[in-house]
Symmetry: C2
Subunit: 393 residues, 2 copies
């Protein structure tokens, strides 16, 4: 029997228990058993008491009860936030327990330190569930795409904003109304800032970029970081007319010895599978030097998809030797500044941009400039009374 503890019994944490209970037989087989239950939740760390819940007698508020119990081999951290998630994870690792987390904030901030702590103690620190919900993207990048130097990771990493953009595109709803609808359906939080301003996608692309380029990339290095609050129906009309969809993308891409790393709304060609990704779904494209492009599509959030990724990591922690994933911080200047970014650029402007094909809607001009440095493009268009610009994938 493998004993685990779940720290934080909220949406994801309770989903982890549901998955362990529901799929106990399959999990058993994956751990070498014959269908008998092999994983037991011995502790739940939470400030609430969960009276009447079948696991109510496992609930504790005392982290030391878990840390000091040598029979616990894996601790699931589904608390959210940086503190005390960081301190509790560190204590668990130092006591020789593997830690599995869905907490992207903690991974983005303390992933380096916690990974080093895991290596020192011969255990695993795993965080598949922190990016892409149920999409096994980290597993794929770490294990399955071994043959590749990864040159680019780009994708729709936030379901809430993708739902809003889908509504804007397909129903002609403006941003504010689409946001309200997303809140009504429970896709967006009462305070939607982390989603709509791109912070959630930022944490995720920093985690993925770190794996792709084998460095720790703090969120502060990314530029630009733009959300979707300024996208208008005029922009979506131009996109549609020109054969594109507007998608909020996180992008990490090798450019010589440096990388571009950013979060911004992009024009994405309708011929791309990324453009066809609607509603709350996520899609992540990984380009390797020999494999070319692979795309992973699926449910990017939700209790059970995320819990599914957590449980897969619990099985990995039990079944496999730890991966010693030690990375150093990226050096200053590793990430291109905004003006150094090579990109195609969509421009909406009051005056036509001469020398390029312009699409006209309601007296405004839409143009796609060929790939060049963003800084050069900004000079080129400065006299065109620009209303909005978008990178083009």
């Amino acid at each position: 029997m493998f004993n685990i503890a779940i720290m934080g019994f909220g949406v994801v944490g309770s989903g982890v228990w549901e998955v362990i209970k529901e799929n106990s037989k399959d999990i058993s087989k994956k751990l070498g058993g014959n269908g008998e239950s092999l994983v037991d939740v011995k502790y739940i760390l939470d400030l609430r008491t969960f009276e009447g819940h079948e696991l109510a007698d496992r609930v504790t508020t005392d982290i030391n009860a878990i840390i000091n119990d040598k029979s616990v081999s894996v601790v699931v951290e589904t608390m959210g936030g940086s503190h005390p998630a960081y301190e509790f994870s560190k204590a668990a690792l130092e006591s020789g327990k593997s830690v599995v987390t869905s907490n992207k904030e903690c991974v983005a901030k303390y992933g380096k330190e916690l990974s080093e702590c895991a290596v020192r103690n011969g255990v695993s620190y795993l965080y598949e569930a922190s990016v892409g919900g149920g999409i096994p993207i980290i597993n794929a990048m770490l294990n399955a795409l071994t043959a590749n130097k990864i040159v680019k990771v780009a994708g729709i990493l936030n379901g809430t904003t993708n739902y809003i953009l889908t509504q804007m595109k397909e129903c002609g709803t403006d941003f504010e109304s689409a946001l309200k609808e997303a809140q009504r359906l429970g896709y967006a939080e009462a305070n939607p800032a982390a989603d709509v301003e791109g912070l959630d996608a930022l944490r995720k692309i920093c985690i993925l970029g770190g794996i792709a380029f084998d460095q720790i990339i703090p969120t502060e290095m990314a530029t630009p970081v733009k959300g979707i609050t300024e996208i208008t129906l005029e922009d979506t009309a131009f996109a549609e007319k020109m054969g594109y969809a507007i998608k909020l993308l996180g992008v990490a891409e090798k450019c010589g010895d440096r990388i571009k790393l950013l979060v911004a709304p992009h024009f994405v060609s309708n011929s791309s599978l990324i453009a066809a990704t609607s509603d709350v779904f996520n899609a992540i494209s990984v380009t390797g030097n020999v494999l070319g492009e692979s795309i992973f599509y699926g449910a990017g959030a939700g209790s059970l998809p995320t819990a599914s990724a957590v449980v897969a990591d619990v099985i990995e922690a039990i079944r496999c030797k730890p991966l010693p994933m030690l990375r150093e911080y990226a050096e200053e200047g590793f990430v291109l500044s905004e003006d150094e970014i090579p990109t195609k650029l969509f421009v909406r402007s009051k005056k036509a941009i001469e020398g390029f094909e312009n699409v006209v809607i309601n007296g405004e001009y839409g143009t796609i400039l060929p790939e060049a440095l963003y800084g050069e493009q900004k000079k080129l268009i400065e006299k065109a009374d620009v209303i909005s610009t978008y990178f083009v994938l």
Copy 2:
């Protein structure tokens, strides 16, 4: 140092060596090293001699040299065909070595026996590379989608036929000409039967269906098994007019206590990511009861993508405890007969089918019948002078 042997040094086998050489540093890190070379190819089993090749001194024709060398822990089988691949794999497993293969024919035919042999000997029998080339679909189904009862696996599993269908759709080339072009480009073999008649896709869907439904499903159980040789430009014209693409799909789907398991060209709605998958690419959709649909897209064949999957399995064999994947043969009647299959159906006919919307092109009628048993639909259309029918995804 981990010693491996490669049996069969053809396109994939030599790709395995390229990948191990090229990514030696990354592989080292994944095995707990610091960048020093940790995997060595100690033997190559092949009837050819490879004079002048850097590994020429490792080539042997004697399987016993490998079997009897206790320092070899993993044997890569990239020979193709059933014999002697089966016998050699069995001997390697019985001598306590894990076996990693890209050989779908051998997996489809002898996977059960070889998996059991691996379990008896406490080693792994891994075959990620046998389906979907570089797409980590088996790894995802076995490890990452733990939270799910899989209810459906469907996808484009053969790049050659997808290339031909893309040519027919986009360039209006007929089947024979598109096949010739595929042969000229090296995408199709001189004898293309295994690809264009659906046998390759059949082996793959049986492997995936076996994993999804935890049974061994012999290829003989699948019905129908149809390739792409009878698809005409008249069919593609109807598909295009009605908003579909024609794709050769392998499908394994739970229907109550039984499954449908088949390979056939399908009408796939243009709104699906599967329809947007062009050229030699593969895309595989997996639907789980809690996760919903996930789609995995990428290079489905080719030396390096396939070798990439082989090397990932070699790392898994070294790093992780074996998964005891024991499955029993599906019972007779587990797979629905053709007439029992519930499906939407596209019908092209000389007479209109009354009561349904008919699209007309050049005096012929195209109709999509709503979901019903195929046997019932056949009765419904028997008086319509039917020219062709297609399942609809």
